[in-house]
């Protein structure tokens, strides 16, 4: 694993040197104009869990390491240096030491030191007086014992036990380093970073502006003078505005598959890349409330679901079928067809599956004339409602009569946490394509974002086990075993993974969209305008 990291560091340096070599071909200046879909709750990346915050504010910050902004895939092999110039792991594989870049300054002129790294992670662990209002990814760092410093330019992460993918979490856009001297409250409204762009303005419902950091420690970067993001709630308006050339780039994956056809027709010169969102549609089932506390009912449900129908109807066949981890080919941990085939409800004759499901339900006393009445709760947003409606139709096949219960969107998580639902249609976004992020965040017993409170000791044990395995193929076997258990438990069973497009005009150069995450590629330091 040490070799893998050293290779990653070497690759990162090579990429960096390559950039210097080609920098002469790039034009400096200009403001990148992107439209934003809504007003972010705050500018504090550590407090939010949405691309609405990530896209406009990631460029303000730096991480210790980062997923290469010029490569399409996020993996251990594509992690490159950022505020850290190099890193190494000790023989016990529990001490990860970073050497920091010298001479880096915060946007307010104060020097960046190892103390800032320590402060950031103590804040995430809840050890700091500087408290975050919300800390959605605290669970990511549950294996972190402490962060120690050795002088201003060296920092060591002391882990409880070996965790090969720990560095993958540090490379996420969600893991920026915050300054010690700025309060968590100020970071929500007037963020200070070391990144290529400085915070200039954030007016709710109107605009977010970033300006070039002339003292950026990566020489020659960024190329842009600034980034301006106008907030336009209405999707039709903002797409028309892009087509009219008012913007250089759309918001991340704002163009759905049905809209893409129109975009290609109206703006044939625009470059549109369709990629997985790693935001999957899934079911949540209240396993504590009758009759869903009965595993037989849950199995019958699993047998009723025809995933292909969802994909065909809602994504015109472009979506992907898989488990909790992003499916192949983009996903690093997706299950091959032979593994998927082992999962209940994923393969076989749909009619036969449903007949089996009906038989189970009939065994429990339900029939066409006496169906199980169930409320399908979901948010009052089209991307939630549409699959819920299809689900209701499919459940009819096993004597379940569904009724759609739409919930005002701000109340959704609170309602789920109260267990005030029977069955729900839900969406889950994943920031890092690694089981230590996805499975831990969504299925570990004490995770903040495991809001269904699913807790299975077997899954917990397997999650711990896979985290310590350094061999990728061996780790995959455990991960797929976890997928199997999650499916059998009907713990947020995944219906399908969606795809959507991000578009930009040909004069936007140097932007690379990541294929297996929408949360990590908004640094914009290599982006330039060929105007």
């Amino acid at each position: 694993m040490k070799a893998v990291w050293l290779t990653a560091a070497a690759l990162g340096l090579a990429v960096g040197m390559g950039d210097v070599a080609t920098a002469f071909a790039q034009k400096s200046g200009g403001t990148l104009r992107i439209y934003h879909r809504d007003t972010p709750a705050s500018a504090s990346l550590h407090e939010e869990a949405t691309v609405s915050t990530q896209l406009p504010f990631m460029a303000i910050y730096n991480n210790l390491v980062i997923y290469d902004q010029q490569k399409k895939t996020n993996s251990l092999e594509t992690i490159v240096p950022d505020l850290a110039s190099s890193w190494s792991l000790d023989d016990t594989k529990t001490k990860l030491t970073f050497k920091l870049v010298d001479g880096v300054k915060w946007h307010d002129g104060k020097p960046f030191t190892s103390e800032d790294v320590k402060c950031t992670f103590e804040m995430l662990q809840g050890k700091s007086k500087n408290r975050l209002r919300k800390n959605p990814r605290a669970i990511w760092f549950r294996n972190l014992k402490e962060v120690t410093t050795k002088g201003p330019l060296e920092v060591t992460f002391n882990l409880e036990k070996p965790q090969g993918a720990f560095i993958a979490l540090l490379a996420s856009g969600y893991t920026p380093i915050y300054p010690c001297h700025v309060s968590a409250a100020d970071m929500r409204t007037k963020p200070v970073g070391t990144g290529p762009f400085k915070f200039a303005e954030f007016r709710g419902n109107e605009v977010i502006r970033l300006t070039k950091n002339p003292d950026y420690f990566k020489k020659g970067l960024p190329h842009l003078d600034g980034i301006e993001m106008r907030i336009i709630d209405n999707r039709s308006t903002r797409i028309l505005a892009f087509q009219a050339g008012e913007f250089d780039m759309t918001f991340s994956q704002d163009i759905t598959i049905p809209l893409l056809k129109d975009m290609v027709k109206q703006a044939p010169k625009a470059i549109c890349e369709t990629k997985p969102q790693y935001v999957h549609r899934n079911l949540i089932v209240n396993r504590e409330a009758a009759p869903f506390d009965n595993p037989k009912v849950r199995t019958a449900m699993a047998l009723a679901i025809e995933r292909k129908a969802f994909v065909d109807i809602l994504t015109e066949g472009k979506g992907d079928i898989g488990g909790a981890m992003l499916p192949l080919p983009e996903g690093g941990w997706g299950m091959p067809p032979e593994e998927l085939a082992k999962m209940t409800g994923y393969t076989g004759d749909v009619a036969k599956n449903r007949a089996e499901g009906r038989k189970i339900m009939e065994g429990l006393g339900y029939s066409a004339s006496n169906p199980l009445k169930v409320k399908i709760a979901t948010r009052n947003i089209a991307i939630y409602r549409d699959p819920a409606v299809i689900l209701i139709d499919q459940l009819k096949q096993i004597h379940m009569e569904g009724e759609l219960e739409v919930v005002d969107t701000p109340l959704w998580h609170a309602k789920v946490a109260r267990k005030d639902y029977q069955v729900g249609m839900n969406l889950t976004g994943v920031a890092v394509d690694d089981p230590d992020a996805n499975l831990v965040e969504n299925y570990a017993c004490k995770s903040e974002r495991n809001y269904t409170n699913y807790c299975n000791p077997e899954v917990e044990k397997l999650i711990e086990q896979q985290s310590t395995i350094s061999d990728v193929n061996e780790r995959k076997k455990v991960v797929w075993k976890i997928e199997q258990v999650l499916n059998d438990d009907l713990a947020r069973p995944v219906i399908y993974h969606d795809r959507a497009a991000t578009c930009w005009w040909p004069h936007v150069k140097g932007f690379v969209g990541h294929e297996n995450s929408i949360y990590n590629n908004w640094r914009f330091e290599y982006v330039w305008l060929d105007k």
Binding site: G204, R230, I232, N234, T237, P410, L411
Partner: protein, 315 residues
């Protein structure tokens, strides 16, 4: 008169107090609060963190205490801080008011400018092809939702000019702003102008059949004079009433129009603030609107006495 004014003033204070209670209670009846929404954006629920945030924002206190704190602070000129932007509420509200005020005034201006003359023309040319055409136009105005019309206008601009008339940047000057506001004002004013036109037409038709109009024609008054000096002056009273009512309804139309044309006005901001349950913003904004409305009504009532000596409030 003096006693009436004092009575009227006290009534105004009572109305404002009632409004403040109403808006305060109604906001809290709506399920969910800002804490739910902030946590929703993080896709998480942590009861301890939520409780702490509720304490931080003062939402854990009894509702009466929250109300007293709010109303006393407001009377001291402290309108509180936005829960979302963490900026003073007034700093968020005040810059947005002129934008909406200009848009509303322009929309009303368009609706009167087109509605009244076209209504008159439609009435005096009753049952001609021009009348039929104008009636179809007015019916369309009443039938087309303003957001749909707005989108059609935007699509037409993009298709035929390659330019989109939205607020994508601050206007560069008075004429640029007027131009940017004219298009949405026309979209939102179209419905109001259609209503005014139909009402003017029917009112004019009724007046044109009156004996005094026949007399005016008989004595040789010009067509222009009969239609505008004699008929319109008498037909316009119900039209003026409806213009007043439409002005009040305009705010509803502006919410959609500001959204479609991306105008950073107060109407869209109010809806967003309600969505976020941003109590200080919603309460301050609604109270500002209420104060303006009540004060204007009070002044109008006072003006009646001056303008029409037949009105005797004392009796």
């Amino acid at each position: 008169m003096g006693a009436y004014m004092i009575r009227r003033f006290l009534l105004m204070i009572l109305t404002l107090f009632g409004m403040s209670v109403l808006i305060f209670v109604m906001l809290r009846i709506v399920p969910g609060n800002i804490v739910d929404i902030l946590f929703d954006s993080a896709g998480m629920v942590n009861p301890d963190d939520k409780k702490r945030l509720e304490e931080e924002l003062g939402l854990d206190k009894p509702i009466v205490q929250q109300y007293v704190t709010w109303i006393t602070s407001m009377m001291k000129g402290d309108f509180g801080y936005s829960y979302v932007s963490e900026k003073p509420a007034l700093d968020e509200i005040l810059p947005r008011i002129p934008v909406t005020a200009k848009l509303a005034a322009l929309a009303l201006f368009f609706s009167v400018l087109f509605g009244v003359p076209l209504g008159v023309i439609s009435a005096v040319r009753q049952n001609t092809s021009l009348d039929y055409f104008l009636r179809v136009v007015s019916l369309s105005g009443l039938s087309l939702p303003s957001f749909w019309l707005g989108l059609l206008i935007l699509m037409a601009f993009v298709q035929y000019t390659g330019w989109i008339p939205i607020y994508s940047d601050q206007p560069r000057g008075f004429w640029h702003e007027l131009w940017l506001l004219s298009i949405p004002a026309a979209a939102v004013g179209f419905r109001a102008s259609a209503l005014i036109m139909r009402l003017t037409r029917s009112s004019m038709l009724e007046v044109l059949r009156q004996d005094y109009i026949r007399t005016a024609r008989a004595k040789g008054a010009t067509k222009q004079s009969v239609n505008y000096d004699h008929a319109l002056r008498n037909a316009v009273l119900p039209v003026v009433t409806i213009i007043g009512i439409e002005a009040a309804f305009l705010i509803g139309g502006l919410i959609v129009t500001e959204t479609v044309f991306n105008i950073p006005g107060v109407a869209r901001f109010l809806v967003e603030a309600i969505r976020w349950r941003d109590y200080p913003i919603v309460q301050s904004l609604v109270m500002l609107i209420a104060v303006v409305t009540v004060v204007v009504n009070f002044l109008v009532d006072m003006a009646y006495v001056v303008l029409d000596p037949r009105i005797k409030y004392e009796s």
